[in-house]
């Protein structure tokens, strides 16, 4: 029964995205432009090198397009839906409901992510294929692993974004803090360059951080750079971080609602 509730919430979050088709089209265009730009930079870079950090040129280009396609699925920047309800005081309606506040927003985020998977991620990958030719997964196991990896990636990124949003319960400047924090996540999730490009010591640290689970790991799963035991390990790392971070956000929700100060009449 309860799963049914969260399913219904997710379904509505998906539907509500359909109202913003033009915005999606504009975003698609932007993502494709940057995909083209980043792809071209990498091709130039590989004029002198055969392989960097274990990526040859076609892997690097595919990595570029996959991460570009996933930006909106994991909603890397500017997700302030929760902060807005806290700042305006609309959060009262959600808190007056007999459901898990965390569960409510998580379900909404999965609904939204599915929309972006279908209407943002897939078109971008197709565009990338047409413009550059991508290296696609060869085995059905990879596709299954990818589905799981993306599910976990959304959970990790959601927990991170939700935490930043929840700071609005304590400060009126959550967006300022969040803006700084998203510089961090952009750098550490592998969007700018694949994490293996970093020097070894740095690399070992950043690969263990939760941010690696947002883009780096799903992209590596797509590229079949992690297989077998390595694949299980990568998915395990994602699952661990997803669990830890969602648990932490639940604690944060409890702290926030205990001292909740709802804005406005």
């Amino acid at each position: 029964m309860s799963t049914r509730l969260y399913w219904e919430i997710g379904k509505r979050a998906f539907q509500r995205q359909l109202a913003y088709r033009t915005a999606n089209l504009a975003g698609l265009f932007t993502n494709a432009c940057f995909g083209y730009l980043r792809g071209s930079v990498f091709i130039a870079l590989y004029q002198t090198e055969r392989s960097i950090g274990g990526y040859d040129v076609s892997a690097a280009v595919t990595f570029t397009w996959v991460t570009q396609a996933l930006i909106m699925v994991v909603f890397l920047w500017g997700w302030w839906d929760v902060e807005e309800t806290i700042r305006t005081g609309d959060v009262v309606s959600d808190l007056a409901k007999p459901f898990s506040y965390l569960g409510f927003w998580l379900a909404r985020d999965y609904g939204r992510a599915l929309y972006h998977l279908l209407f943002r991620c897939c078109p971008i990958l197709l565009i990338g294929e047409v413009m550059f030719g991508l290296r696609w997964p060869t085995s059905p196991v990879t596709w299954a692993a990818l589905a799981l990896s993306l599910t976990l990636a959304v959970a990790i990124s959601f927990a991170w974004r939700f935490t930043l949003n929840l700071t609005a319960f304590w400060t009126t400047d959550a967006r300022g803090i969040g803006g700084l924090a998203s510089i961090l996540s952009t750098l550490l999730c592998g969007l700018l360059v694949p994490l293996p490009y970093f020097p070894d010591t740095v690399r070992r640290v950043v690969e263990a951080l939760p941010f690696a689970g947002i883009l780096q790991i799903p992209a590596d799963v797509f590229l079949e750079r992690v297989t077998g035991a390595g694949l299980l390990l990568a998915l395990g790392q994602q699952a661990l971080w997803a669990g830890v971070m969602l648990g932490a956000t639940q604690l944060l929700v409890m702290a926030a609602t205990r001292r909740v100060v709802v804005q406005g009449g």
Partner: protein, 337 residues
């Protein structure tokens, strides 16, 4: 009635208080730095010790000037806000400790907000409530059908909420607050910004919900007509204090002690500008031969005053004006009663 048979109140509030700590903000560029570094707080006492109890089936109206503490009180009753001091119990539970358990059995409308999904057709929001409150399908259909008829929802049931007028949205929000058969509904300004027809329809609806389903209703409003038409009991809150708790009629006796005797003098009785001199009454207005004399219950009765005036002046006509409830309330707010 046995002593044990006394009705147990559904809502009990005892010396309830809420004090907000508000960060002091410094202006300007350097002010922004000081805001970051030093945190100074100012205390705002929104609710300052309120006591009342509401029994099952009551319909209670709560009024008070802007910033009086009405919304804050409702938020504490729903468990969204934690009180600073005092006691609050709803269904015998402390709302903020058992927010979810309380939430199952109450409905809330915050008139200035909406719980509906902005981008989706109204029906989608209503339908979701079935799963949130685990309402059995048949019961849900029954309620929805009834509310569709009572609130005339059909014309916009499939319209995205963002396209609804304020009145339509409010009807949607009311339905949403009641679909799960709550025992109590809190309505914070349910008629705000609505035209007279819309207000009328909503009042009708609330009256029926209260009578036919026995739903206990606590509403806040700035419209005295809401109170006059709906509530047998009135709470007046000002500066976080409860000024009055009781029936609407009694308030006239308690606060509306001043009435006005209006007399029409016979032709040529007194000079146009000369005020009437009568003990225990003062002339507050004159319009040719028509004079308004204000007097207080504490000083004289209407009968005595009329006798005095009539013995001194020849009158053509007279009437007594009771103070408008609005005027009484205004005087209470202004603190001169």
């Amino acid at each position: 009635m046995q002593p044990g048979d006394e009705p147990v109140p559904l809502i009990e509030v005892d010396e309830l208080e809420k004090t907000f700590r508000v960060a002091r903000h410094h202006q300007g560029f350097f002010g922004a730095f000081r805001n970051l570094v030093s945190r100074e707080y100012r205390e705002v006492r929104a609710v300052g010790g309120i006591t009342f109890a509401i029994e099952a089936g009551e319909m209670v109206g709560c009024i008070g000037p802007n910033g009086a503490g009405k919304s804050t009180t409702i938020k504490m009753l729903t468990g969204i806000l934690v009180p600073s001091a005092g006691r609050v119990e709803v269904f015998g539970m402390v709302p903020h400790r058992r927010r979810t358990d309380v939430a199952r059995r109450i409905g809330v409308v915050f008139g200035q907000r909406t719980q509906l999904w902005w981008d989706l057709p109204l029906v989608e929001s209503l339908d979701l409530l079935r799963y949130i409150y685990r309402v059995p399908e048949s019961r849900f259909r029954e309620n929805l059908d009834q509310f569709r008829a009572l609130l005339d929802l059909d014309p916009f049931l499939n319209t995205p909420v963002r396209q609804l007028s304020l009145g339509q949205r409010m009807r949607g929000d009311l339905a949403a607050a009641l679909l799960h058969d709550p025992e109590i509904v809190y309505l914070d300004e349910p008629t705000i910004g609505l035209d007279v027809v819309a207000k009328h329809r909503i009042r009708d609806f609330l009256r029926r919900i209260n009578r036919e389903r026995g739903v206990t209703i606590l509403l806040t409003t700035h419209d005295m007509i809401d109170i006059e038409q709906l509530c047998s009991r009135l709470l007046i809150i000002d500066h976080g204090k409860l000024l009055y708790d009781g029936g609407l009629e009694k308030i006239r006796g308690r606060f509306g002690t001043e009435r006005t005797l209006v007399v029409d003098l016979a032709e040529g009785e007194v000079e146009d500008s000369a005020p009437l001199a009568v003990l225990y009454a003062r002339e507050v207005r004159a319009d040719g031969p028509r004079r308004w004399l204000r007097f207080s219950r504490d000083d004289t009765t209407a009968a005595d005053l009329i006798a005095t005036v009539a013995s001194r002046y020849r009158l053509r006509d007279l009437s007594i004006e009771e103070p408008e409830i609005e005027a009484i309330i205004r005087r209470i707010y202004e603190g001169n009663w």
